[in-house]
């Protein structure tokens, strides 16, 4: 199978950075959800989801963003998405995610966006 799923998390300057690789579908989305939940449970409310190596996402993955974004915003944080390849960005766009989430070109831009907010 090309592009198996992988997920990495890191914390830099109070920002939780979750890096997705491969595909997020109904099979792998629960791992993504657990990773986001763990960061929130650890007190991180400013999250960057780096999708530069993400080759595919279905609604199961999009649902993870939708489930958590209000919670982190209520606590003064946010979830910012960066590095979307065109194929994946198209899926986000179909559902109007560009109106709900800030989407940045890369991780540096997402960090700058948090620094400015």
């Amino acid at each position: 199978m090309p592009n198996p799923f992988a997920i990495q998390t890191a914390v830099e300057d109070g920002l939780a950075i979750i890096t997705l690789e491969g595909f997020v579908d109904a099979h792998t989305a629960p791992q993504f959800e657990s990773a986001v939940q763990s960061e929130i449970d650890a007190g991180h409310k400013r999250l960057i989801v780096d999708c530069e190596k993400l080759s595919y996402i279905s609604s199961a993955g999009l649902g993870v963003f939708m489930t958590f974004v209000e919670e982190v915003r209520e606590s003064g944080g946010d979830i910012k998405i960066c590095g979307l390849v065109p194929k994946v960005k198209h899926t986000f766009d179909i559902l109007g995610f560009q109106d709900i989430f800030e989407m940045l070109e890369n991780q540096s831009a997402a960090k700058r966006s948090f620094a400015a907010s």
Partner: protein
């Protein structure tokens, strides 16, 4: 001369683990049907969503059940049917709330069928709960 119709079928156990295999199958059929990459991507996502709904909702993750994906195409259109014998669903009762509303309610359900309708040119259903449910999706082949 009448167009030749080609038929392909994939039948897999009802597990989300098999979604990647289903996507590969659909991508391969889409290529044979001469769809361009953008259309193949739409097809891949629509069929993934349909099969994920069957696995999670119609069968409730019962791996002893099977999901079938039947594809037929000719020069003009590619038809894909996702077939199951599970609980079925009522198409009119699918959540129609906006994504914004769902986010406010911290919910994410109902996105799959919305995506399918956006991604495919025609969508129809034959629902007989417990007997046979078929979701038919058509993609027109643009020359």
């Amino acid at each position: 001369m009448a167009a030749i119709e080609r038929k392909f079928t994939l039948q897999v156990p009802s597990s989300t683990e098999n979604l990647a295999m289903i996507r590969e199958f659909v991508t391969s059929v889409g290529r044979q049907a001469t769809l361009d990459d953008a259309e193949i991507n739409k097809l891949e996502l629509a069929v993934d969503e349909a099969c994920a709904n069957v696995i999670e909702h119609a069968y409730g993750h019962d791996i002893t059940k099977d999901v079938s994906v039947r594809a037929t195409f000719d020069d003009e259109k590619l038809k894909i049917s996702v077939i199951d014998e599970g609980r079925g669903f009522e198409p009119d009762k699918i959540n129609q709330k906006s994504v914004d509303q769902l986010v406010q309610e911290r919910r994410s359900g109902g996105l799959g069928i919305r995506l399918i309708k956006t991604l495919m040119d025609e969508v129809s259903y034959e629902i007989e709960p417990g007997l046979k449910n078929e979701l038919h999706m058509t993609k027109l082949i643009k020359k």
